[in-house]
């Protein structure tokens, strides 16, 4: 748990996370914030109770005859239990899970900034960003929703200051230029609707210009 968090998960995102409807890249950020924030954990569990209430009220479907017997017969069968990853350094369990337990393999992006892509698919992408103190956070070209969770250090933009555990929620209406604070390098977990294809086609020479 991290103390001093001031920017939390908005309710609609928590409901969508609770229901499983939130796309994978955002779900990873939400699960990571909840790992750091008991306030949002309590909120998320409250939504699970609402989900549980909906489940209780559902009229059940008839089951196949043998299902109950099959399940009861399997209770004592050996099963492999997945051992979930715990927190390592600034990386919460869900990030370590996405990294498959290994340290991040950073790729340089220019100006000392580095990234590690954790997932890139049709529903969006999520990556770790490493921004040296005092540097601007690269523009990862969001067309829709963008979630940025600070894991280490801090950044500031037009909307405020974001320290460890803080979550910035941005949509395309927000024009912002986040800059890492002096001191520690800033490490963020960032998820966006946009596919990565655009940024990877930008010629290398133009990168400083675009701050990618």
């Amino acid at each position: 748990m991290t103390t001093g968090i001031t920017h939390h998960i908005p309710q609609p995102l928590l409901v969508a996370y609770a229901s499983g409807a939130l796309p994978h890249p955002f779900a990873l950020v939400v699960a990571s914030h909840i790992s750091l924030c008991d306030e949002c954990r309590a909120q998320a569990v409250a939504h699970d109770h609402a989900g549980g209430a909906v489940l209780e009220e559902l009229s059940g479907s008839d089951l196949s005859e043998g299902l109950k017997g099959d399940v009861l017969a399997l209770l004592d069968a050996p099963r492999v239990q997945a051992r979930p990853q715990g927190r390592v350094g600034p990386y919460p369990g869900p990030v370590m899970e996405a990294l498959k337990g290994a340290p991040p393999r950073w790729k340089r992006m220019g100006l000392g900034t580095r990234q590690t892509i954790l997932h890139d698919g049709p529903e969006g992408s999520v990556r770790l960003l490493y921004i040296p103190a005092g540097q601007a956070v690269p523009d990862h070209g969001h067309n829709g929703l963008e979630l940025t969770l600070v894991l280490q250090g801090a950044f500031r933009d037009e909307t405020g200051r974001f320290g460890p555990g803080d979550l910035e929620v941005a949509d395309d209406a927000l024009e912002h230029t986040p800059v890492a604070e002096p001191g520690e390098p800033c490490i963020c977990l960032a998820a966006t609707d946009a596919s990565l294809r655009f940024s990877s086609f930008v010629p290398r020479l133009l990168q400083p210009l675009f701050r990618i």
């Binding site: 939130l22 209430a53 909906v54």
Partner: protein, 209 residues
């Protein structure tokens, strides 16, 4: 449409605060049948109690799977996997922090998301639990009362609104469609869960709240 209940009211006067409540470690008689069954599964690996939970939840879980677009056979696979997880993970069940239905709901939606994506859905770090947790029946009972209130609030919604809440929690709405909350009074239950978390944190530190 969705009316909003974004601001959370503080805990009402009638709800006891965990720290001020005498311990009633063995008095779980006020808890629901489902919680009782689940505790017998957890503490005694009681298969008869598991069978009762199966009878209660398996048909609902199948309905949940079919609402999510699964065929009957696939929905039953989910039922099987969820019920086996409930058995395997029973040690993690803590009635101070979650009701059975909420606990099963989150297992089920993870299972369905995993099935859809063929990869594991990100879940928060599990909370550590003390070696010998001190059961707090008052907290569990209070959480149960909040859950009963929540179910009453759900049934008191207009048909249209209740349908929207169902759609939201059954994964049929995107976050962009859930603009303004769900109209359910979640503030007090959140505060109650928060108390349970705070108590757990203190217990882990070896200090009492």
């Amino acid at each position: 449409m969705f009316t909003c209940e974004q601001t959370y009211e503080p805990i009402e006067g009638g709800v006891p605060v965990a720290a001020a409540t005498p311990r009633m470690s063995d008095d779980r008689s006020a808890l629901s049948e489902q919680t009782g069954w689940m505790l017998r599964v957890r503490d005694a690996r009681d298969k008869a109690a598991f069978a009762r939970l199966f009878d209660h939840y398996a048909p609902r879980l199948k309905a949940m799977g079919m609402r999510a677009g699964l065929g009957a056979a696939q929905a039953e696979e989910v039922v099987q996997d969820v019920m086996l997880k409930l058995w395997d993970r029973a040690a993690q069940f803590d009635p101070d922090r979650a009701q059975v239905s909420a606990w099963i709901y989150q297992i089920a939606r993870n299972q369905m998301a995993d099935l859809r994506r063929k990869e594991f859905r990100p879940v928060p770090e599990a909370l550590l639990t003390p070696e010998e947790p001190e059961p707090d029946a008052a907290q569990a009972v209070a959480l149960e009362q909040e859950t009963t209130r929540l179910r009453k609030a759900l049934s008191a919604l207009s048909d249209e609104q209740r349908q929207l809440v169902e759609m939201a929690y059954l994964g049929e709405l995107s976050h962009a469609q859930i603009k303004e909350g769900t109209g359910l009074p979640l503030g007090t239950i959140k505060s109650r869960i928060r108390l349970g978390l705070d108590r757990l944190r203190h217990e882990l530190k070896g200090t009492r709240p």
